[in-house]
């Protein structure tokens, strides 16, 4: 048994996923380009390619935003259509950036990028201050419960690196954020174009005593982002080897969605309610004494129970809610409208059920946070509160408590498209 070797508790590199919200005008692409360049994550052939494009277009400087240009259609139109994922590494952390376009029609992309992020990076143009789009980004970060928010006040070079400008924006944002549910907000004045406070400290803003963006990204405390209290193990796949040497082997494979499971733990299986003990947590590398989120493991139980995909293994004294009436906030992702009475396929953890929209409570104007109660039809990018009735029970937690067991997607059965993203209240 070698838990110690296999799962080092003191690790070299941590993974941080963050999402960037902003439009081309905010300098988002330039900021990402700057992060990549100043952390030496841009390679010669990539730099040469944007250098020649910049020259060809007649730009005075190398346009760093070209580094994040994606598809041909996007280059032609000078816009970002879809979420693009980018990667860079420093000695401390590996970063996954979900780079999302900021325009209102791309709310669904922002939601997609935000769904897996530990941190949201919101850009504000120092010349313009808070705009509608900033409110929208902050709202989505709060709705998707991204644990950390960094507000980069960019283009400080164009406002003479003014402390007053910076502080006015900090005040405005803080005022707006007080109506939201964001816990950890940091403000950083930067100039992406010249690199001030991105990776290296600015010489132009002595009044700023905080850290650089890079320092913050490398050091923000993320180990508390996952729920390690409530034990939740959605059964994903049943491993039955059908080989003589493993004749009676019946393992429940899955990714731990919450909590810590140990060998010998008394557990309960949902929906049956039967109890047993964990006889073994197995992996290719041998037995594991304890498994925790987000590990993928295979669990074996002492008793032979009838368990299949979509069931959930939990601790007896700490079970999720079980029910068929689900209250949730939903973000609509499709042109085909949603209204009361519509039916969908619902996916929650590894479980798939059918559901009906029982009630539409309200929509939210995401720019003003006002509730709209006289329009019960959801179109693309609409966000609001609804109630669903499922054909069989879900085992769930509130999204606030656990993102893994509190999130659902809706699928349109006629097109098979993913049409809604829901966060259980």
């Amino acid at each position: 048994m070698n838990t110690q070797d296999r799962m080092p508790h003191r690790h070299d590199i941590e993974l941080l996923r963050f999402t960037t919200c902003g439009s081309v005008d905010d300098g988002k692409s330039t900021l990402i380009g700057r992060l990549l360049l100043d952390t030496k994550n841009i390679l010669d052939d990539q730099y040469a390619s944007i250098q020649s494009t910049s020259t060809q277009k007649g730009f005075a400087d190398v346009d760093l935003s070209l580094l994040t240009d994606g598809l041909k259609a996007e280059r032609e139109q000078g816009i970002t259509i879809d979420v693009a994922y980018r990667y860079f590494t420093t000695p401390k952390r590996k970063f996954i950036i979900a780079d999302t376009p900021g325009h209102i029609q791309y709310t669904r992309n922002m939601v997609t990028g935000a769904s897996t992020a530990n941190l949201a990076l919101i850009l504000i143009d120092a010349r313009k201050g808070m705009v509608e789009q900033t409110c929208r980004h902050a709202f989505i970060a709060s709705l998707l419960r991204i644990p950390h928010v960094v507000v980069c006040i960019n283009k400080m070079d164009l406002v003479d690196y003014s402390q007053d400008v910076y502080e006015k924006i900090v005040d405005d944002f803080s005022m707006f954020a007080s109506r939201l549910d964001v816990q950890d907000v940091q403000f950083i004045p930067v100039s992406a174009k010249f690199g001030d406070n991105v990776v290296t400290r600015s010489h132009h803003m002595d009044w700023y005593e905080g850290t650089t963006l890079m320092f913050h990204l490398e050091n923000v405390h993320i180990s508390g982002d996952l729920n390690h209290i409530d034990c939740r193990f959605p059964v994903q796949y049943v491993v039955r080897p059908q080989q003589d040497e493993h004749h009676d082997y019946r393992g429940y494979a899955g990714k731990i969605a919450g909590g810590v499971f140990r060998q010998g733990d008394k557990v309960m299986v949902l929906p049956s309610g039967f109890t047993s003990r964990i006889s073994k947590i197995d992996s290719f590398d041998g037995e594991i004494m304890e498994g925790f989120a987000p590990m993928s493991v295979t669990m074996l139980l002492e008793d032979a129970l009838d368990i299949s995909r979509g069931d959930m293994i939990v601790r007896e004294n700490n079970s999720p809610q079980v029910g068929q009436d689900i209250d949730l906030m939903i973000c609509w992702l499709n042109d085909k409208k949603m209204e009361q009475g519509n039916r969908y396929v619902l996916r929650h953890t590894t479980r798939e059920v059918r559901c009906m929209v029982k009630d539409v409570r309200y929509k939210i104007d995401i720019n003003t946070l006002r509730r709209i109660e006289d329009d019960a039809i959801f179109g693309m990018n609409d966000i609001g509160r609804i109630q669903l009735r499922t054909t069989s029970p879900l085992f769930f937690d509130s999204y606030r408590r656990n993102r893994n067991t509190g999130s659902v997607i809706l699928v349109d059965e006629s097109t098979n498209e993913t049409v809604g993203a829901g966060m259980i209240l």
């Binding site: 994922y85 491993v239 098979n416």
Partner: protein, 301 residues
Amino acid sequence: MFSYRLDHLRELESESIFVLREVAAQFERPALLFSGGKDSIVVSYLAMKAFYPARVPFPLLHIDTGHNFQETIQFRDYWAEKLKINLLVRSVQDSIDKGRVQEEKGINASRNALQTVTLLDAIAELKLDAAIGGARRDEEKARAKERFFSHRDDFGQWDPKNQRPELWNLFNGRKNTGEHFRIFPLSNWTELDVWRYIQLEKIELPSLYFSHQRKVFERSGNLYALGDFMKLAPGEVALEKTVRFRTIGDITCTGAVESNAKNLDEIIAEVAVARTTERGTRIDDQRSESAMEDRKKQGYF
């Protein structure tokens, strides 16, 4: 202080294993596209871990251009045997013989693009509903927009502007008859992650990845292996160099790099300070700015 946190390689491993198990659960006839390169070796290795102690519940499928390094083919057969995974091979030569595709002509002729037809034919013949690949988002800008579960219509085409949103880890593999999915378990891995994982897990690789002596020649800034499929053009000269390959594909479009890295430590040190991307040695991508995007729309890997 004790904290429940995984090292980034273990977190990526867990994510990939989750994706592979999701494929086995959601699809009826998946296959793992195996090229003999390090990425597909890592994916097959992760598949072995995902279903342990049971065998991997889907076969390996090699789309063989016929222009392979001998070492790749030997390794492929050895690896399938070792992992006890069923190996299927479909060849571009058959597609040419049947008149499904026409061989490119000229000095830079390659069967790289022809693979797409062979692959789509194989998917239809074997009635595959999911083809798992080793592509990573860090490789190329068109791949940066790929989903883990990437939908393909009944012509096998990718529509980058109309992809299904992919939220949390809720993967939607529902489809109509005739359509299929491409699945990319290594989406979030970088080249360096793959190498570090190979080192961590002591995964075997074909010898081509390590530095060796080889007869090569230079063409438009790239070094090519001299051999049956690659002949010298007038003015080109054969050189004996110490090289290794950063990617392994069809001989006609895989360039070598000069390197003395003969083990994983040295390769990782080299990759960590490399000044060019690994696809910089892939001549298939250099054909145009959107070479990859265009091929992917047609149904390429």
